[in-house]
Symmetry: C2
Subunit: 604 residues, 2 copies
């Protein structure tokens, strides 16, 4: 199928190709003979997919679009303070070749004008056997995701005509802003302006900035997040020369343009945009490039204000566990205790990103809990990104809960939040499934509000909840028919695809169940303990075991085998009927359980 | 429990209270006697919760923080183009009281400096019996969420000392930028600067901007989104006077300060921050205000680049329906057709926000579908916000699917995406549950790949999948024991909490099931059709109906009542046993179904 986004870009390209205003840059002879009709649009997503329309593989010199990348390299080499001493971050409101040095100190207003860019180049030093320029070129290449080259023809031409930049460099040297011989710095600066890129390269360079400094395809961290933040900040106020204000109003993306006709724009977290079209407006920006950027920003909602999440609460649901218990079958006494005390365990189900706002709403909910709540389960299964500040807030919230004599438990499938909390010295209870977390909470409630007998280490099958609808003597008869089996930690008791092999009653120990997910990877489902049953699910339509069951620690089970169930039907139809009736009740208890969970989930 | 965020703010407040630099504004006598130790921090979330530390209820004059709000009112009154003609959007790089008028035209550089703000005030006109100033004051009050007043003392003092602003207004009049008598405009401008606010007010005003112009507590749309976008854009480059570049680098939030010591900052979509502390730095910004803003931005990750979602894919899972069918019981022939053709239906499960980037990844997945796919189900249950551009992309993607002879179906619980698509003239198939959507897809497959007999309009209970494990003569005997009942559209067949009343077999027509969600509201669960059963779930542990069942259109059912099931146990234990066995199998088929769905869900 065609992509509607590609179609849209084709439409915009055709429309804007009709704009014939402006003239290509002519001050450098080697750049004067460019075809003014060349016109390419490339849009790269933060995961590295590139939409391309028109002349996106046509090469041209990067020119001033080099400035943010060299500035980024200097920032990551020296740190922010050392760079700030040499180059300020204030918009000059001037055009690209204005001098804009601070009175007295000679400090350039920012790194997006020539004076600041020359200074940034001077701050990059050769290292590890690589010259300054090799390091600059390698950085640009890493941003683009391919090896870039210099146009020697353009370089030679720049060097010959670049009197103003040469003057600037010597002026900066006179102020001590540039601290060494200006000549090699000027040469490297002209070389960096002469690096050949195409619109696709620029879109991926922009997408790397959008992606927090990590190239979406190579996966390499090309620039640290702090430097990315700074580079994008300076691009926001200084990237489009004296057009910065109207750019941020009408386009709303940090951007940089070059006199060869390139424009690069970044929507943090989302996309990188690049346009190539040589004719320039009076500010030195590509006429079609500006038009495309404005059009896409408005049509696709790329303005940074519009693209911001409009603070939906990160909390999807808050409920106590009386409505959705773990589903573990309990003795009557235990069930009664849980029914009376289940409201002491609250589940907070979160979704979306836990940046400050999301973490704040979670922590606020924790602060507002009724006094009787003893345990809180934070269900993180639907959470995407968890920021550092969210981790710190969760850690502090846990400390506060503890001081109040309360506990926090996480449902954290990948374990990344648990690990991050551990690094902060917290040993937060964490589970990979909701039901495991709730089971743990229930056991806590039983310990706190029940007698010691409520959580026995071993349960006879005859006393298990599954057989509770039967009369005691019936349950006893069934228990007498069972086979005892024992397993060691990690043993596979039942495997996906096995035929129905009977109903397994856990006497002591625990098992875990898992099944393959849609892509074949293993998904952990539940942990079951004494008194609980498994294997009966294979009585479903295809008569095959749906889950793999493993012993978790030493395990003792009693099995009502498939054969003995068949024999019973002939031998004692009444008992057999009552067994099936009990199993039906048990099965529907579970269906109800799933339904209740689904109702919580569906509800938003 | 204490809030860790409040604790954190208290810590920051105590720390920064020690900063004693700067002096309160003294040019206006009525403002000179302020206590320099007053210091309040208020942080308001986009849903209207306000954290307050220190002197957040201390009133002071709003001064220049009025500028973005009057500018916003002018924008929403006249539209962007008319306002742009009078006031530009470029940073001036100058301090707040610089003249900064364009050569020749006299157009002020932006609306955050005095010349631009006077012009913005002049653009607001009285209307509907309210004077210009009444409209301005009402706007500020709506942003704050309470009735604000003017300090007549400060107003009088401003009017007396405001020679420079008076000069500016007459200069603007001479250029024709201000088009009427400057005197009442100057008075209204001084009045607007003299409006009394406290830090809590400013935080809520900022949160209203963060929330796209809608006050988070009153719910009123105070300013349209386009004007909010423009106001925040101009605040980004021009809000902090000649300190704009370092502000955006170090704080990264659109902001505005006033000489009375207030600062307001906005993180779009997330929070509004306000600080009040009178001593000012050399730029005219509150010393403690700047320090708090920098500190919070860095500690809480509020910089707009950092706060951007780092483009996780919006796609949670893609799978075909062979692994997770609707769970509807089918004839053997139908089941075979579905097993062979289920891969022609793909489910794309999405989560997070569908802004451009999210919608793009969905549309890209649609473009990449294998040729044999005939229907796509977009499961939107975990999606938060859906932007306009996402709606347009989905509409275009649907057109493309249609042109390829494919269909799109939505799982859209609230129906908002479906409604928006309908406004664009699309009649997209939409369902409130996944299983209803999948059932519809299965029926489509059966129509396309099976014979007409595969989807009969009525099914005898004896032929239903639930009784399929029984021999035909057994199923026939059971059918003979059943009672026939008919219902009209909307009739309640079973109600939550009713005792087990038997097993209901749908002969013709459809029913819907629903249950109360955790907050008591009704959650729709499923739609069932001919051959399917209900009522049996009440055989679960508490013997009560868990769902409410309603007829959807004319309905005919056959009921194996609870009484007849009891009688059967005595009369024919073997048949009774086989019935229970069939019901157990049926129940576990459903448990398996839920487990498979859970495995898809848990897997990320």
């Amino acid at each position: 199928m065609d992509s509607p986004i590609e179609n849209y870009l084709r439409r915009i390209h055709a429309e804007i190709a009709g704009m014939k205003d402006g003239h290509p840059y002519s001050a450098i002879p080697a750049m004067a003979n460019v075809d003014p009709d060349h016109f390419g649009i490339a849009l790269a997503t933060a995961d590295g997919y590139v939409y391309e329309v028109g002349d996106t593989r046509e090469e041209f010199s990067i020119q001033s679009i080099s400035k943010p990348f060299t500035y980024g390299l200097a920032l990551s080499d020296l740190g922010m303070d050392a760079v700030d001493e040499k180059v300020d971050v204030e918009p000059s409101g001037d055009s690209f070749n204005e001098i804009s040095l601070a009175e007295g100190t000679g400090r350039p207003a920012n790194a997006m004008i020539n004076a600041g860019a020359l200074t940034a180049t001077s701050l990059v030093k050769g290292s590890g056997g690589r010259s300054r320029f090799k390091r600059i070129l390698d950085t640009y290449s890493a941003f683009a995701g391919r090896s870039l080259d210099v146009s020697e023809r353009i370089y030679a031409s720049e060097l010959k005509s670049g009197h103003r930049n040469t003057a600037l460099a010597y002026l900066l040297r006179s102020f001590g802003i540039i601290e060494s011989d200006p000549k090699p710095i000027i040469e490297d600066y002209f070389r960096q302006c002469s690096v050949l890129v195409n619109a696709r390269d620029l879109a991926l360079m922009a997408a790397t900035l959008a992606n927090g400094g990590r190239h979406p395809l190579s996966g390499d961290e090309v620039l640290d997040l702090f430097s990315v933040e700074r580079v994008l900040s300076v691009m926001t106020t200084c990237g489009m020369y004296d057009d910065a204000g109207s750019w941020i109003s009408n386009v709303g993306m940090p951007a940089k343009s070059g006199v060869a006709g390139g424009i690069l724009a970044v929507l943090p977290g989302q996309v990188g945009l690049a346009v190539y079209s040589p004719p320039l407006d009076e500010h030195g920006n590509s006429v079609r490039g500006v038009a495309v950027s404005q059009r896409l920003s408005s049509d696709l909602g790329l303005h940074f204000v519009r693209a911001a999440r409009t603070g939906r609460s990160a909390i999807r649901a808050i409920y106590d566990i009386t409505a959705t218990p773990s589903g573990i079958r309990r003795t009557d006494e235990a069930a009664e205790i849980l029914a009376g005390h289940g409201h002491r365990v609250q589940v907070i189900e979160l979704n979306g990103d836990l940046l400050f706002a999301g973490a704040e709403s979670m922590v606020r909910a924790l602060s507002d809990l009724p006094d009787e709540v003893e345990i809180v389960v934070a269900d993180l299964r639907s959470v995407d990104e968890v920021s550092d500040v969210a981790i710190r807030l969760i850690a502090e919230a846990e400390d506060m809960l503890r001081r109040d004599g309360r506990e926090l438990a996480l449902v954290d499938v990948e374990g990344s939040v648990t690990d991050a909390l551990q690094e902060l010295g917290r040993d937060t209870a964490s589970f990979t499934t909701r039901s495991a977390a709730v089971e743990w909470c229930e056991n806590r409630l039983l310990e706190g509000h029940g007698s010691e007998l409520v959580l026995p280490a071993s349960i006879n099958p005859a006393d298990s909840p599954a057989l509770s609808p039967l009369r005691p003597e019936e349950a006893g008869l069934l228990q007498d028919m069972m086979e005892e089996r024992t397993y060691d930690d990690g043993d596979v008791v039942r495997r996906v695809g096995q035929r129905f092999g009977g109903v397994f009653f856990i006497v002591s120990g625990h098992i875990t169940t898992s099944m393959p997910g849609p892509d074949g990877s293993r998904v952990k489902l539940a942990t079951l303990g004494p008194g609980m049953t498994f294997g009966e699910m294979a009585m479903g339509e295809d008569k095959r075991q749906e889950t793999t069951v493993k012993a978790s620690g030493p395990l003792k089970v009693m099995v009502l085998t498939a054969d003995s169930i068949d024999e019973l039907a002939a031998k004692d139809p009444i008992l057999s009927m009552n067994l099936w009736k009990a199993l039906t009740q048990d099965a529907y208890t579970r269906v109800e359980q799933y339904l209740r969970e689904a109702a919580v989930r569906i509800h938003d």
